[in-house]
Amino acid sequence: MSGEVQAAAVLGGFTESETQEDRGPRGFPRRRRIGLGDWLLPVYTVLAFVFLLIPIAYTFVFSFNDSLKSNISWRGFTLDKWLNVCNVEGGAVCQAFTNSIIIGLVATLIATVLGTMIAIALVRYRFRARSAISLLLFLPMATPEVVLGAGLAAQFLAVGVPKDMTTIILAHTMFCISFVVVTVKARVASLDPALEEAGRDLYGSPSQVFWRVTFPLLTPGILAAALLSFALSFDDFIITNFNSGSVSTFPKYIYISASRGIPAEANVIASAVFLFALVLVIGAQVSRAARAKRLAKLG
């Protein structure tokens, strides 16, 4: 094996490992390429994941820190912060967290309804100005958040609307719609129109066909879109910062407290949210795998 090939294999392990076809053209066992790539890429992957997860581990560990006001140096293990999350600063962290949940839920609800309707129309109907509408849906995703935030804030200022919870919800709904459309559209496109046809053939009214056939089939896509919207809204800081006035959200609370030190209670909330989301996603993956197995058995 030439050094050049070795070097290339080191660059990223691009050689497919031959597990089954280990025989050369004349039946001689081909010499197994012990390319560095065979183990370099898996090792790299493990290291990459360690790197990606370091800050999460740090946040989690420091939620158990027996810290005073700011949570920078390790002062010993305590469960106290987990048990009394809302006791710090008169419950400011919890207030911010509650606001974030409310904003996320309302914005998700509106964005999911509006986005799903658009997704169905885009796949199922023909209409004029299609490319203009596609562009209008695409642009919010291609615009930097700071521009979206400043634009809305400039508009609220021009119209004279005071910034509060409502303006945050209006802003969050706006940037969630496009992501809902993208997610649900994929699901609508994979839907077999014959199923709806069958419903109509059986004298189902349009609304019956929609609620009994189309909607149940779209549910996984709609749920995924709603989860994505909620996650985007919950973690949004930049757009919120421009349109929140004096209302605090969880990310805004962290941004403002960053200069004087974040209390460990913020780490508690973030870690709890992380664990909850992780369980939710892994649960969804496992149940999908189980269903695929069941279907495979039936087929």
Binding site: I54, L136, V146, G151, A154, A186, A266
Partner: protein, 303 residues
């Protein structure tokens, strides 16, 4: 991801022609919402960027005008910030691509035989999204502060000058931007690499191409849609970000980006025209750069 998904919008020739009234009913509320809260804000941003200070007005009071000199003023005043924004975003995009490609290749191509491992690794890629990105960035700030284990070790090993800092430097800001946007790069790369037909790679090596040539001539061209989508999804938010560069996070006084000055002008100095002019410049520059990039990389049908 998002970009690739929109590519399929037009390809619906068999979409049945049905009553356009239903389509109108389905489209109208959402489109109206975007017109009201996305399109008109952009217009009011343009109008604001041309405003002049109100006569006899207080700080923060402006009247509509055609004061295009605002643009000249902000470019003169904030040219370093503008250049920094695009420089940092470009560097972060390149680093994120270099970091993500082998990772996405392993998940999408090498791990195909183990679907469960594949989906577990995908969960790990998006796991950082489940924890506030501000807290993640602050975690790095602590982990890379002057007193931290990592930095003191580097100094003990003489890999860093004893009086050098990491936080507050451009490197720290680029590091933070890279870290925060890696999932945006990895996911679209994974999506295209997952569909990569490995028989092409085998054909390449059967024709005596060495692995490096196979990678350069086959793998990269076939994964181009993912590379373009990933670089766009990383570059655009990175250019507008102001959290990483903020003084309370990974930045310092000399690392402020466009986002920082837009925020300062809008929310602190109440200089709305300057903030609006900077926003318009940022958006216009991104649109120009993106369209040139998409044209040159030959993936126009992606948009």
């Amino acid at each position: 991801m998002a970009f690739a998904a929109f590519a399929t919008t037009e390809a619906q020739p068999q979409a049945p022609k049905r009553k356009s009234r239903i389509a109108l009913f389905l489209l109208l509320p959402g489109i109206l919402y975007l017109v009201l809260f996305f399109l008109t804000p952009l217009i009011s941003l343009i109008l604001t960027s041309l405003q002049a200070p109100a006569e006899f007005g207080d700080i923060g009071q402006y009247s509509y005008a055609f004061n295009w000199q605002n643009y000249v003023t902000v470019v003169q005043q904030y040219l370093p910030h503008i250049l920094r924004s695009f420089g940092y975003a470009l560097a972060a995009t390149v680093f994120a691509l270099l970091f993500s490609y082998p990772l996405a290749y392993f998940i999408g191509v090498k791990a195909r035989r183990w679907p469960l491992l594949q989906s577990l690794m995908l969960v790990l890629v998006i796991a950082p999204f489940f924890i506030s990105f501000l807290l993640r960035t602050l975690a790095w700030k602590q982990l890379l502060s002057d007193e931290s284990f990592i930095i003191t070790s580097l100094k003990a090993l003489s890999l860093m000058a004893p009086d050098a800092h990491f936080t507050g430097t451009p490197f720290a800001v680029i590091f933070g931007l890279t870290y925060n946007f890696i999932p945006f790069m990895t996911l679209p790369l994974y999506t295209t690499l997952e569909r990569l037909d490995t028989r092409y790679l085998e054909a390449g090596s059967d024709l005596y191409a060495n692995p490096f040539t196979v990678f350069r001539k086959i793998t990269i061209p076939l994964s181009m849609p993912g590379i373009v989508a990933g670089t766009l999804l990383t570059f655009i938010p990175a250019a507008g970000d102001y959290v990483n560069a903020s003084r309370d996070f990974l930045g310092g006084p000399d690392t402020q980006m466009m986002g920082n000055v837009i925020e300062a002008n809008f929310l602190v100095l109440l200089n709305y025209p300057a903030a609006a002019a900077l926003s318009i410049i940022l958006m216009a520059a991104i649109l120009v750069l993106v369209s040139i990039y998409v044209k040159r990389s030959g993936t126009e049908d992606l948009l």
